[in-house]
């Protein structure tokens, strides 16, 4: 019989955590090279697509127990590109993203709801340019070999985040609705 010394108890806890909690607490890892976050804004009806080149995620998510999951996201705003040098030199400016003052956009989940069939609804706070807004983001998981792809899209109101101020606040020029699309390759996601 093993006596219940503090050391043994601590050892048992670690063992328990490793065995029982392993699947739930394991950190999933983002594979940036296979991931993309893009956005589509409409300029006088013309869809213009851009993307962020740098972003990272901290994900602790067990598909079997989605409600216990936590998803935190950071996007390096200065990495935004529309694929043309002219607008790209405008994006960091104060009236657009003001990247000098707000270099990162963040998302922090509050609740994750499973909708079945690999579909989830992630609610949380989306903070861009110093403004924080509630956001509900639909996510669909698809197994892709060793990785799991989390994909989805949602629409945000750019003016709620003051993206495009002064003369650019005119929604007849640039629509308020901006569609954000993401495709994130993750490793370490369990079965769903």
């Amino acid at each position: 019989m093993i006596r219940s010394t503090p050391l043994v108890r601590a050892g048992a806890l670690i063992l328990l955590a490793a065995l029982g909690g392993g699947a739930a607490l394991a950190q999933q890892k983002l594979v940036p090279a296979q991931s993309e976050i893009s956005f589509v804004s409409k300029q006088m009806g013309v869809p213009v697509e851009g993307r962020f080149k740098k972003f990272d995620a901290q994900i602790a998510f067990d598909p079997a127990k989605p409600q216990t999951g936590k998803i935190a996201f950071t996007v390096d705003i200065a990495s935004a590109t529309l694929g043309a040098p002219e607008p790209d030199s405008e994006l960091p400016k104060a009236e657009w993203f003001n990247t000098a003052k707000f270099p990162q956009a963040t998302f922090q989940s509050s609740t994750i709801k499973a909708l079945g069939g690999g579909k989830f609804e992630v609610a949380g706070k989306l903070a861009i340019k110093g403004a924080s807004q509630d956001a509900v983001i639909p996510v669909t998981l698809t197994a892709n070999g060793a990785t799991t792809v989390a994909a989805g899209s949602f629409t945000l109101k750019r003016l709620a985040y003051k993206i495009g101020e002064k003369e650019w606040a005119d929604t007849s020029m640039v629509a308020d609705d901006v569609q954000v699309k993401f495709k994130l390759a993750l490793t370490g996601v369990g079965k769903f």
Partner: protein, 186 residues
């Protein structure tokens, strides 16, 4: 000054297309020159989109005009005029018209291709998305860009020749040729 009989004049519809497009081409050329040097601003964005919408409208009117031209024989030059024209003038007259018609299509089509290649598909009047006949490709757009400009300058040069020739007939030859394209029964 001679007057040209009604049968020797262009039809009302041909005159309408001629003058509407004449105004449009002058306006588009000036607009293109002006907007290309504007800094990034809502004004620039607005002008670019208006320029594209107007360009597509010019293209559509040019199709209509070509169809009209192919189905309605334009009035022949008065014999007095043709007899007075040296061979090179006749050749220039033919060539100017053929080239202008070619550029009525080429200039807007190249502009459309440039817009598509640059990644900005044209949405006519902000509501009707037009298809891209070239794909978005930065390198390709840089390749196309000077051709929109060059073809527009070529068309403008031809318009100058055309107007110059018309005015020469009007003021130097005084043969009344211009009245063929002027509305009203003068």
């Amino acid at each position: 000054m001679n007057t040209v009989p009604a049968s020797r004049r262009y039809t009302g519809f041909a005159m309408l297309l001629h003058w509407v497009l004449a105004l449009a081409l002058v306006g588009m050329f000036a607009m293109g020159l002006y907007m290309a040097d504007l800094p990034f601003s809502p004004a620039r964005l607005k002008l670019y989109n208006w320029h594209k919408w107007a360009g597509v409208t010019v293209l559509i009117l040019s199709v209509l005009r070509l169809l009209w031209r192919l189905t309605h024989r334009p009035p022949a030059l008065p014999q007095a005029v043709t007899l007075a024209m040296p061979g090179w003038q006749m050749a220039a007259y033919q060539a100017t018209h053929v080239l202008m018609y070619a550029l009525f299509f080429a200039v807007p089509l190249i502009g459309w291709a440039y817009s598509s290649a640059a990644g900005f598909p044209i949405v006519l009047f902000g509501v009707l998305p037009l298809p891209d006949f070239v794909s978005a490709d930065k390198a390709l757009s840089e390749l196309i860009k000077p051709w929109h400009e060059a073809s527009a300058f070529a068309l403008t040069a031809l318009v100058v020749v055309h107007v110059g020739a018309a005015l020469k007939h009007q003021w130097i030859d005084k043969d009344g040729l211009l009245t063929r394209m002027l509305p009203g029964g003068r």
